[in-house]
Amino acid sequence: MAIVVLSPGILTSVQDGGRQGYQQYGVSPSGPMDLHAFRTANILAGNDPDEAGLEMTVMGAELTFTAPVLVAITGADMGATLNGKRVAMYRALSVQAGDILKFGFAMKGCRTYLAVRGGIGVEPVMGSRATMLGKNFGGFKGRKLQKDDRLEIRPCTEALAHPETYFAEAEMVPEGVRTLRVIMGPQEDRFTQKGIHTFLNSEYTVGQDFDRQGYRLEGEKIEHTTDSNIISDGVVTGSIQVPGTGLPIVMTAERATVGGYTKIATVITADLPLIGQCKAGDRIRFQEVSVETAQELLSQEADRLEALRRQVEDPTHLPPANTPAPQEAAAPAVEHEYEYTRDVTISINGKSYEVTIQKWKQEQQ
């Protein structure tokens, strides 16, 4: 049982819940950039929330399957089609051997997740199947997927008794200015009052330099009291470093484990998915919250996922009568009917990619 990559998209990699326990050796956690969407996909595919799946970036992959399997798609809408027909996100979908699941361009958001029932069966490295792209280990051969890669799917002993209950309300990737809530520090005392005011009151734009290691933001410069150097200390996912340029860098999944720049604040864990769905040009504001608030929000997120898990496992949780069964979940949209098709060049981290953007005539089914 396997997934075969027909076309890899721009940047598709195997990720799981992340690699814990090796930061003291310089190994960052890696894992999905939008943990909420990732875990939701796994729950909808009947998996453990941190099971290995695929993360696609901006322009998705084209995949085929060697055996029937249940999958679920979440995150940014890449206009996924199954054998040419549009399929719904946020629900379990049955795919058959030979089916072609194709993802396009994310008009909104940045990352899309594909969970497969059983999970992707790559060999764990240091207890995790997450790919660490920047250091070339973990996941599938330590790299992003390429054409003709064959990913084994871990066999599942039992089929889901009632896959039709495995659906959730589709979540929209946020648009417009995203507000990232932050906890100030640990080095906020290395910034002037004016600098802190700038940070909390101006709008920043995601620059061309955004990837799984970090997001460089552009906007008003943040003023230090003296300079931006500290004696290197530990970094967490969400740390906001401000180097000498005065411009913030949000550290993400593949960040360094230690760093020598002042950190003005830390994005709260519950808001990390927001940055994971940003791409160049997206706008960001920061809002200060207390640790208590952040932890309460995180607790609510855990409760939401747990509630979803219980809901999908409940045999009486049935979709509205007019919703097609998962096997026929393809939208009624006419095959390949686009409002427009456009070839564009997009640039990520200095690399250019030629992509075809196809806007569906019927945006919502």
Binding site: G26, I231, S299
Partner: protein, 242 residues
């Protein structure tokens, strides 16, 4: 000795800071706190990330909230001085200083107005302390406590130097685990791997230990390299004398 400061680093970690300097004394407090926490972890405690003068303590806020985690850390700080630490380990790193591997040795000797032999002797005579690991998996940040050399980084960093390179500046000497850009002078090369993903524990070193450079001939370098490839080479280690 000033009191440690505990600061939140987001909603899932605390940063404990000791005096703001790089010294063995300050770092010994980092190690003592880490050891104390490892010996008596609190509920919800996660990874510990030691650095020069601070310890990052990760925790799971679904199991313990910040205030309670702070209390736990404060109590460990209170009795960490009573904990007797195990002796530090020294790991022997075989280093080949032949021209082929030590591309900057001649340059270093010129900068220091010493012979190449003298430079090798200085580099290999004293142990270096591993303050922390970072930058790349298994990459040690090491230093010693007199000033063996006076030269700093090169003006033009190289875009790529090979994994295994031993690079130096001032009191610092690092082992480069993987190919990377680097602006330090290369004094030699080791055949042992600072990070070997084939192994259950991939890492040769850890924070708080020492390394000792042993000069080896090219012949021995190649022989050790073969053993490393076969996964049979084990670096010699011993306890550090106080």
């Amino acid at each position: 000795m000033s009191e440690a400061v505990i600061r939140p680093a987001g909603d899932s970690a605390l940063l404990v800071e000791f005096e703001n300097e790089i010294s063995l004394e300050v770092n010994s407090r980092v190690r003592a706190l880490k050891y104390t926490l490892e010996q008596s972890p609190f509920k919800g405690m996660g990874e510990l990330v030691p650095a020069y003068r601070s310890l990052l303590i990760c925790y799971n806020p679904l199991e313990i909230r910040e205030k309670a985690a702070q209390e736990e850390v404060r109590s460990r700080l209170g009795h960490m001085d009573k904990v007797s630490m195990p002796k530090a380990i020294v790991t022997e790193i075989p280093v080949c200083y032949d021209k082929e591997y030590a591309v900057d040795l001649e340059h270093i000797a010129q900068l220091e107005h010493k012979s190449e032999e003298e430079v090798i002797r200085i580099h290999s005579q004293s142990d270096y302390f591993v303050y922390m690991l970072g930058f790349a998996p298994g990459h040690p940040y090491t230093a010693r406590f007199e000033n063996p050399f006076s030269f700093k980084r090169m003006e033009n960093p190289r875009l790529k130097i090979p994994g295994g390179s031993i690079v130096v500046q001032l009191a610092l000497s690092d082992i480069i685990p993987f190919d990377q850009p680097c602006g330090w002078n290369i004094i030699g090369s080791t055949p042992v791997l600072a990070c070997d993903y084939r192994k259950q524990n991939p890492f040769l070193l850890q924070a708080g230990q020492w390394i000792h450079h042993r000069p080896v001939s090219k012949e021995e370098y190649l022989d050790i390299q073969k053993q490393v490839e076969a996964g049979t080479y084990v670096c010699r280690t011993w306890e550090k004398e106080d």
